[in-house]
Amino acid sequence: MNDHRSVSIVMIEDDEGHARLIEKNIRRAGILNDITHFTDGTTALDYLFNHADGPAHNGPALVLLDLNLPDMSGTAILAKIKSTPALKRTPVVVLTTTDDKVEIQRCYDLGCNVYITKPVNYESFAQAIRQLGLFLSVIQVPEIEGN
């Protein structure tokens, strides 16, 4: 696996516990990609759009996005990513506690690639994250082949 080309994971999640659980399960699924963690929307957006290592300037990335953030709504971040040409192909996985149908619909309308509800049942949660790991390994392949 080529480190330069590998997908870096940007996790925007204000809850440290959730972030830790997500990371642990990603690792357990055998995904070793870099994970950059942000706990608020502002710094996350700054990283995504402006940072030298950020996905706008440097290679493929995957965004794990929580909808409940202290400073802005996750859907606003989603809308910004999907309306910026440099970022709109970046897959966004929405990971949130909301299982409201309308909310899910709205996220897909905005261009979210996967919507995962954080279930309280940990097994389903871990399962979902591991499947996400599989998804990550799938999207990795074309990136490598493309280069």
């Binding site: 959730h18 659980l21 409940n68 709504s73 506690t97 909310e103 309280v120 940990y122 949660f125 871990a126």
Partner: protein
Amino acid sequence: MSIGFAALLAAGVAAVWTTMRSQAHTDMVNHTYTVKLAIAHTQTLIEQGETARRGYLLTGDPDYRHNYDVAALQTAPEIARIARLTGDNPVQRRNLATLRPYLRALFAQRASTNGQIARGDKADALTSFLNEKGARRMYHIRAVLAAMGDEETRLLGVRDMEQRNTVRAFYGVLAAAGVLLMIVALLSITTVQRYTRDLAQSRDTLRDFADSLEDLVAERTTELTRANEEVQRFAYIVSHDLRSPLVNVMGFTAELEAATATITGLIDRAEQDAPEILSDEVRLAAREDLPEAIGFIRTSTQKMDRLINAILKLSRQGRRVITPEPLDTGALAATVRASVQHLLDDRGAELEIAQPMLAIVSDRLALEQIFSNLIENAVKYLDPKRPGRIIVRSRREGVRAIFEIEDNGRGIAPADHARIFDLFRRSGQQDQPGEGIGLAHVRALAYRLGGTIDVASELGRGSTFRINLPITYVEAPTTRTERDPA
């Protein structure tokens, strides 16, 4: 007012009384005049008699004698009349008593002289006339009669005064009555005016009230709707925010469990290879304390998750868009019956749908949920001691439809009749699974459809749940604009 009228009445009575008094006084005055007249007449008669007698004495003309007789004959009855008229006056009685002997003597003397003349003893008669103390006697008679006249004049004066006083009193009473009448009239007019004004005011107030009632109702409905939405939004946000930490608790509990498994594995190995390094405490901690603690955390969080989901579900129910459509409630109930048929069969119970069932316009899903919850409850809480029997019936009451789900199950204690509709509250023996959500859900749905729900139940006899819905669902005014942020 009533005092005024009473005073007026008293004034009328007083007027009548004074009039009567006045009449009595007039009668008394007339009476006095009559007496005076009678005294004068008596005097005249006596004087006439004397004149006639003297004529007879001088001339012997029988005409004079006749005149005398006529006058003399009238005198006695006239005296008697005076006596009768003045019987109540001691002064006059005394006067009459004085008069009578004089008169008797006078008439005796006259009769004697007249007799002498009649016999032709004219000289004797003249002598006796000359000897007569008659002049003296006449003087006395005149004096007594004058005294009697004076007495009557005095009485007349007194009575006249009294009459005048009575008349004055009458005028006084009349004037007082007049003033009273004016006052009462004024009072009456004022009262009537005040009443009229009050009446007009009440009418205006009533009209204004009627005008503003509609606005008020609309305003209150809006407030209520807003409050309701607020509660729902609150429930929604709270349930979401509560879920977030719960994810952590469950997640890390699973991590702990995994770690415990690792440690337990290590202890098992140590037990085999080097049992001396293990104490009972370590074994207990790894094999009992940790799994037990984790187990409790897990069941509690699971329960909490169910409760939060229930709140979430309720709040969603309130936000759901109602789509009214014509419904055959009989068919709807039959669908629900089919879905619980296996339960009915298990328990040997039967469910009757009393035909005909009403046709209403409402939300299918909501009504189906209401029926299904209530019927499931009826089946769930049947009394095993007797064959279960559930009846679903409906009737119309004006613009409302009443649905009843009646069972002969174990019933609900009266203290719990209101409580069972609250979230997480249950009644009776807790031998059936459930979180106490169903009836709260049913009530929320009933409210959402513009209806109400209540229960009539007797412990050990059965329960009847009654839902009251509008025959045709009408959308309540809403302040809802957009859905809430997640």
